[in-house]
C-alpha cells in the first residue's frame, strides 16, 4: 500500500517539475513548484525524516515559495516576455541534460559499490567495518545484532503500556530484545512518569513491578523492592546519563541497564524505528541532536540568515527620495 503511495508522489513530483520547466506562464511555474516541493516533503516522510518534512513544508513551501510568488507579482509586468529560449539555446542544454541523466541513472540503478557494506562503528569509534549485506534489502536487525562491534542499531517501537500480545507485537518485542542484547543490555524495566499534581516541576515516576529479562526469552519476573528502589532512584528527579528531568516526563519510556549495571534511559519514539547510537537513544532529529553535535553550524547559519535578511532589505529598498 505504501509503495503505491510512493509511486503516486513520484509521478506528481516529476510532472510538476516538468511543468515548472516548460510552461510559458511564470505563475503556473510557481504553483507547479509548490506541488514539487510538497511531494519532496512526502518523500522525506517515506525516509523517516518527518521532522525534515515539516521543516520543508514550513520553510520552503510556506516561506521561500511565497517570497518567489511576491517576486513574480512585483515583476508581473514582464510576465508576457517570451519565456522560451530560441531553439539555438534549447539543443545544447537538452544534450547536456541527457548525458548527465544517463550518467546519474547508471550510478543509481546499476550494481553500485555502496550496497555491499553497512557502515558500523567500533567501540572506540574508529574505523568502520564492512559487513556483506544483501544488496537492496535493508540490513535486518538480526544480522547486525550478532556483529561483535557495537552496531548502530534501530530499536523497533515497543509499546510499554499496552502490553499487546498480538503477533506483530511479539515480533517487535523480539527485535528490541535482540538489538539490546547485542548492545550488552540484560534487563528491561518499564518506567511510567506522570506529572506530580502537587509540585508541577517534579515528576512522580512509577516503575512497573515486572521486569523483562532480555536474556532468557522475556521471562517476566517480579523484582525485589531494593532493586525497584534503586531503579526509581536512578530515574526520579535527577538527570540520568545526560537527560534532564523534563525529558523524563514522557509517558512511554524504556529504562535499560547496561552490562555494568549503570542505569541508562532510552526514549522510544512511537513512529517506527529510531537510530540508537550507543544506547543513549535519540528520538528523531528534533531534540538534543540539534543542540548537541550540530550547535556551532546552527549558530553560523543563523548569523548568515540575519546578514541575508538585512542585505535583501537594503537592496530592495525603493529610493524614496527619487
Amino acid at each position: 500500500m505504501s509503495l503505491v503511495l510512493f509511486y503516486g508522489f513520484v509521478g506528481l513530483a516529476l510532472t510538476s517539475a516538468l511543468i515548472v520547466v516548460t510552461t510559458r506562464n511564470i505563475v503556473h511555474a510557481a504553483f507547479a513548484l509548490m506541488v514539487t516541493l510538497f511531494s519532496v516533503a512526502a518523500f522525506y516522510v517515506f525516509l523517516d525524516a518527518d521532522f525534515l518534512a515539516v521543516i520543508q513544508l514550513l520553510v520552503y513551501v510556506g516561506g521561500i515559495l511565497v517570497l518567489v510568488l511576491f517576486g513574480v507579482m512585483m515583476t508581473s509586468g514582464s510576465l508576457l516576455v517570451k519565456l522560451r529560449a530560441p531553439v539555438r539555446q534549447l539543443a545544447p542544454a537538452a544534450a547536456i541534460g541527457v548525458v548527465l541523466l544517463g550518467l546519474l541513472l547508471h550510478v543509481s540503478i546499476g550494481e553500485s559499490p555502496w550496497d555491499q557494506f553497512v557502515l558500523v562503528e567500533n567501540p572506540d569509534g574508529s574505523a568502520a567495518a564492512a559487513i556483506q549485506g544483501s544488496a537492496s534489502e535493508r540490513p535486518s536487525l538480526a544480522s547486525l545484532a550478532t556483529a561483535s562491534v557495537r552496531p548502530r542499531l534501530s530499536i523497533a517501537y515497543a509499546s510499554t503500556r499496552a502490553q499487546g500480545e498480538g503477533p506483530a507485537d511479539r515480533l517487535l518485542e523480539q527485535e528490541v530484545a535482540t538489538a539490546l542484547i547485542g548492545a550488552g543490555i540484560q534487563r528491561m524495566y518499564v518506567v511510567q512518569s506522570r506529572p506530580d499534581t502537587l509540585n508541577p516541576t517534579r515528576h512522580v515516576v512509577l516503575v512497573e513491578k515486572r521486569v523483562t529479562s532480555l536474556v532468557d526469552d522475556h521471562a517476566e519476573a517480579d523484582i525485589s523492592d531494593e532493586e525497584l528502589a534503586s531503579v526509581r532512584e536512578a530515574v526520579a528527579g535527577r538527570p540520568v546519563d545526560g537527560f534532564a528531568p523534563a525529558e523524563v516526563s514522557r509517558p512511554e519510556m524504556l529504562l535499560v541497564t547496561g552490562a555494568d549495571e549503570k542505569a541508562r534511559v532510552a526514549l522510544i519514539g512511537d513512529l517506527g524505528l529510531r537510530e540508537v547510537t550507543d544506547v543513549r537513544t535519540v528520538v528523531g532529529l528534533g531534540d538534543s541532536v540539534m543542540l548537541g553535535e550540530f550547535l556551532l553550524p546552527f549558530e553560523v547559519v543563523g548569523a548568515l540568515l540575519l546578514v541575508a535578511l538585512i542585505g535583501a532589505a537594503v537592496v530592495s529598498r525603493k529610493e524614496l527620495e527619487a
Binding site: 506529572p195 534532564a244 514522557r250
Partner: protein, 410 residues
C-alpha cells in the same frame, strides 16, 4: 520492508486499547482480528471524526456568529429558518449550492478552480493535530504543533492563488495584503508556540495537554507571567492569521470590496466561507490545547465530563471572544497592522522567550524544588510590582490628553 505498516498496526492496537479501556470494555483486543481488519476500523474511525468536524463545526460557528452579532447590535438575527433560525446555515449552504459558479473572463481558469481547495484543504488538515479526546484517536503525531505551523502557512498560497487568478485589481490587492499579513503574523504565532515547547519539552500535542491536567493552576497560561503574555500574543496573532477584524484587511469591504474572494460565487465561495470558520475553530482549538489545558477540566480533581466536552466548551468561549472583538472594534490600517506585528508583538515575544528560557533553566537546575509552588508561579508576585513601576512612568510625564473640542458659547 513493511515497517511503516507494523508501526501503524501497533499504534492502532494501542489506541484501540485505550479507547476500549476508557469505555470500560477491558483493554484486551482479541488477536483474532487480522491486520487488515484493524486498519479498516481505524480508517472508518478517522473518517467519522473528520467528517463530523468538517460538517458540524462551521455550521455551528456561522449560526453562532450571526446570532451573537445580532444580539450585540440590538436585533434578533435569523429566526425564520427552523426553530429560532437554527437551520439558517443549511439554507445558506443550499443557496450557495444552486448559485451559478461564475468564472471571470480572462481569469486563470485552472488556478481559479484550484484555489478554494488549497485554502479549504489546508485549513482542515490541521484538524488531525488537535487533541480533543483523552486518548487520541486521530494521530499521536510526535510533531503535532510543528505540523500545525507548517500546514497553516499553506493557506497563504491558496489566498495568493485566488487573488492572482481572478484577474481583478481588487482581488490582487486583497490577496497581496492577506499574504503579507499572514506571513508576518506567523512569526509571533510561532514564537508563542515556541515558548510552550520550551516549557513542555515536547512537540506532541497530547503530551502537552497531559502536562496541564489537574486544574487551572496547571494550565500553561498561568504557569508564569511570560507564558501569560505569550497566550495574549498567540490570541492576537491568531485573530490576524484568520483575517478577522480588527485585522480583516484582505476583505476590507469599505476599501477593496471583498478582497481575494470578490470574484467567487456559488459553491467556490462556500469553500472560502467554510474554510474561514473552520480556521477560527482550529486556531482557537490549538490555543486551548496549548495554553488552556485542552481536554482537562479547570477544577482540580473534577474530571467528570469526557474530555471532548471541556475542550469544545473552552473553544466556544474563545470563539465568542473573537466574535465579540469583531463586532465592536473598527479595522486597522495596513501600515498600523504591520507596525503592530513588527514593532510591538515581535519585541515582546523575544523578551518572553528569554524569560521563559530563564524560568525553564531555573526549574531544571532544581531551584524551584524546595519552594512550595513552582518558580513560575512565584514570579506572579513580581507582576504587580512591574505594573506599578510602568504606571508611575506613564503618568509621571503628562501624557498628551486628547484635545476635546471646546463648546464655544456665542
Amino acid at each position: 520492508m513493511t515497517h511503516p505498516i507494523e508501526a501503524f498496526a501497533a499504534r492502532l492496537r494501542t489506541t484501540l486499547a485505550q479507547t476500549t479501556e476508557t469505555l470500560e470494555l477491558g483493554g484486551r483486543w482479541p488477536e483474532a482480528i487480522p491486520l487488515e481488519g484493524l486498519i479498516a476500523i481505524m480508517l472508518v474511525l478517522l473518517a467519522a471524526v473528520s467528517v463530523a468536524l468538517i460538517a458540524v463545526v462551521p455550521i455551528v460557528l456561522v449560526l453562532m456568529e450571526r446570532k451573537i452579532s445580532a444580539y450585540f447590535q440590538d436585533r434578533l438575527g435569523p429566526t425564520r429558518v427552523g426553530p429560532w433560525g437554527v437551520l439558517v446555515t443549511l439554507a445558506d449552504g443550499i443557496k450557495l449550492l444552486f448559485k451559478e459558479d461564475l468564472i471571470p473572463p480572462q481569469a486563470d481558469k485552472m488556478l481559479f478552480r484550484l484555489a478554494p481547495y488549497v485554502v479549504f484543504g489546508s485549513s482542515f488538515a490541521v484538524v488531525a493535530v488537535l487533541p480533543p479526546f483523552r486518548s487520541t484517536v486521530i494521530g499521536n503525531l510526535q510533531l503535532g504543533l510543528f505540523i500545525y505551523l507548517a500546514v497553516s502557512s499553506l493557506v497563504v498560497l491558496g489566498i495568493i492563488m485566488a487573488g492572482w487568478s481572478s484577474n481583478s485589481k481588487y482581488s490582487l490587492f486583497g490577496a497581496l495584503r492577506g499574504a503579507a499579513q499572514m506571513v508576518s503574523y506567523e512569526i509571533p504565532l510561532g514564537l508563542a508556540a515556541l515558548m510552550i515547547v520550551m516549557t513542555a519539552g515536547t512537540l506532541n500535542m497530547q503530551h502537552l495537554v497531559m502536562d496541564q491536567v489537574g486544574g487551572i493552576h496547571r494550565w500553561y497560561m498561568f504557569r508564569n507571567p511570560f507564558l501569560f503574555i505569550g497566550a495574549g500574543i498567540y490570541f492576537i496573532s491568531s485573530i490576524a492569521e484568520v483575517n478577522r477584524t480588527p485585522f480583516d484587511l484582505p476583505e476590507a469591504e469599505s476599501e477593496i470590496v471583498a478582497g481575494f474572494h470578490t470574484e467567487y460565487s456559488g459553491l467556490r465561495f462556500a469553500y472560502f466561507f467554510l474554510a474561514e470558520y473552520a480556521n477560527v475553530f482550529v486556531v482557537s482549538g490549538i490555543c486551548v490545547a496549548l495554553f488552556m489545558g485542552g481536554w482537562s477540566s479547570p477544577i482540580p480533581g473534577f474530571q467528570a465530563l469526557p474530555g471532548i466536552v471541556w475542550f469544545v466548551g473552552k473553544v466556544l468561549v474563545l470563539v465568542f471572544v473573537m466574535m465579540w472583538i469583531r463586532w465592536t472594534v473598527p479595522r486597522v490600517r495596513v501600515d498600523q497592522l504591520m507596525a503592530v506585528c513588527w514593532k510591538y508583538l515581535l519585541p515582546i515575544s523575544f523578551v518572553n522567550i528569554v524569560g521563559t528560557g530563564v524560568v525553564v533553566l531555573l526549574e531544571r537546575e532544581g531551584w524551584g524544588a524546595e519552594l512550595p509552588i513552582g518558580i513560575g508561579h512565584m514570579m506572579w508576585i513580581a507582576v504587580p510590582v512591574v505594573l506599578l513601576v510602568l504606571g508611575l512612568l506613564a503618568f509621571s510625564g503628562t501624557a498628551p490628553v486628547r484635545p476635546r473640542p471646546t463648546t464655544v458659547g456665542r
